[in-house]
Symmetry: C2
Subunit: 315 residues, 2 copies
């Protein structure tokens, strides 16, 4: 059986830790809208979060980056007065970016580079960037009365999401293509899962790549979403700020409606919400409630199994 999962970074990685315990071929289509070029390095935060987490090398306490990380290069870059001192790059992490950037500059696509990096990390799932083309999430902010667009990382890391976001723009998305393997991973899937990642800045950029939304809508596989909002609060990250800024209620109900029913030009066949959110209703979508806390890969596996059961699939 083949499961294809749309994921962002940390939350998506944790979700995949559960999915990969199932006896299935798992393909992860990973958001690259967070990607940023700094110091000449191409940095792919979500791909790396997934890769390090599934490779057993992530720092779970800090919630991002590598275990046992050091920061000598970043300190030195700051001493040079280099750009973006608010974006700390770990030394181990920089090795990944060096290899990635060198391969990209040599002409390899991001999907090939990701495959090469994964030879070391053996994530146990096939990892595909959503696109080999450069797509960057920019945030339109109101900065003391002046509207300007800043890179998602500047909004997220530098301003901690505190500048009111008016809109999220997936720069380059309209001209991008799905990475090799993405459309076939959707077309040949037995089931597609939408991880409990940030709907606005992790899942939406993936859906903004032309062809992906259509593939999901027209594919044979049922699409099951898992809510990242439990009891009207985000489990991690800043989805609340993102949802509010686009006028969507921070709730399992709100996100379920945002995704919408596949039968009504939306995305979902089924929507998993936490037991505390019992009573959510999305027209045309089978809503099922179960405990959604991903406290362990086993707990997450049960979430996935509950989702599969909702659409009548047994792995």
């Amino acid at each position: 059986m083949r499961i294809t999962v749309l994921v962002g970074g940390v939350g998506g990685a944790r979700f995949l830790q559960g999915v990969r315990t199932l006896p299935c071929d798992v393909t992860a289509i990973v958001n690259t809208g967070d990607d940023v070029a700094l110091h000449g390095l191409q940095i792919c935060p979500d791909l790396d979060s997934v890769m390090y987490t599934l490779g057993g090398a992530a720092d779970d306490e800090r919630g991002w980056g590598r275990q046992g990380e050091t920061w000598a290069v970043s300190r030195e870059l700051a001493d040079y007065g280099a750009e973006a001192p608010w974006f700390s790059l770990g030394d181990k992490d920089i090795a990944t970016h060096l290899i990635r950037t060198q391969m990209l500059n040599a002409g390899y696509g991001l999907s090939s580079v990701t495959k090469a990096l994964c030879q070391r990390w053996e994530p146990g799932v096939e990892m595909l960037p959503m696109s080999d083309d450069r797509v960057e999430t920019h945030v339109l902010v109101d900065d003391d009365g002046t509207q300007r667009a800043i890179h998602f990382q500047e909004w997220w890391v530098r301003h901690r999401g505190e500048l009111a976001a008016q809109r999220f723009i997936f720069t380059g998305a309209a001209e991008s293509q799905p990475a090799p393997g993405v459309l076939s991973a959707i077309a040949t899937a037995d089931v597609v899962l939408i991880a409990p990642s940030n709907p606005v800045v992790s899942i939406a950029p993936i859906l903004a790549v032309p062809g992906i939304r259509e593939a999901l809508r027209n594919g044979k596989a049922p699409v099951i979403g898992v809510s990242g909002i439990i009891d009207k609060a985000v489990v991690r990250g800043m989805a609340d700020k993102c949802l509010t800024s686009i006028g969507v209620e921070v709730s399992a109900q709100g996100v379920g409606e945002l995704y919408g029913a596949r039968s009504a030009d939306g995305l979902l066949d089924a929507w998993l919400v936490d037991t505390t959110d019992d009573g959510v209703e999305v027209p045309g979508v089978a809503v099922h409630s179960c405990p959604l806390w991903m406290s362990s890969p086993e707990a997450t596996r049960k979430i996935v199994e509950a989702g599969l059961e909702t659409v009548g699939i047994r792995p």
Copy 2:
């Protein structure tokens, strides 16, 4: 008074520590034949040795790189199985290479990049790369009966100069131009010094850039060489292996003859040798002996003053 100095790396840097104590404008024309691109980074060992040493940030005990250096990125690159694990790049050093590479890729010339980096290090001398063009010293070696050309760093660092060198080739030199400022630094100098750097792989690449040798030969400034060979032994580095491979005796006499008299299509007006090498004679060159051990900037300053005196100049 203006002094222009041709230098390689560590020995050249130490020489400049003495030269800059004189009340003169000092310009260093630095070898870039050692430069190497690794992991997508443009690495300039001689420029960095000079910059770090004059900036007070060099590790004098190790003899290269930065004080208090760490090696996290290199270890990680090795764990990825990346190229050239024999070439250790320090974490602090990598910050320099990142900034340099980013500026080069943005279109700045190496001389502009060097100037920008020096804003932090304040070396007290004007540092000019010999050329903004890519020139790389390659070494023709006999590897178990097969002739092949390898990068100088591979010969120097990986093989510790132990593969018999048949020839040194300054790839790209013939098509290169002197960096902006190089020819005028020679033309407007009151004196030109050849540092006691490796004649074969530090000074020769500089001379291989079309126009530089002619500028030295035709300039108004006397050219004073300082021997890096004392009592038939190299003070540091592997000049002995380099000289032997091109059939030049490892001695102050041998190197003096290699450089030759300016009046006879060579380079030198004067040649400073150590007191232990008293008796060296190079036709057409004023040979002067004095203690050449650069035990301190003050000792080195005395060497330079002795050289200036040889050609009748008082700083």
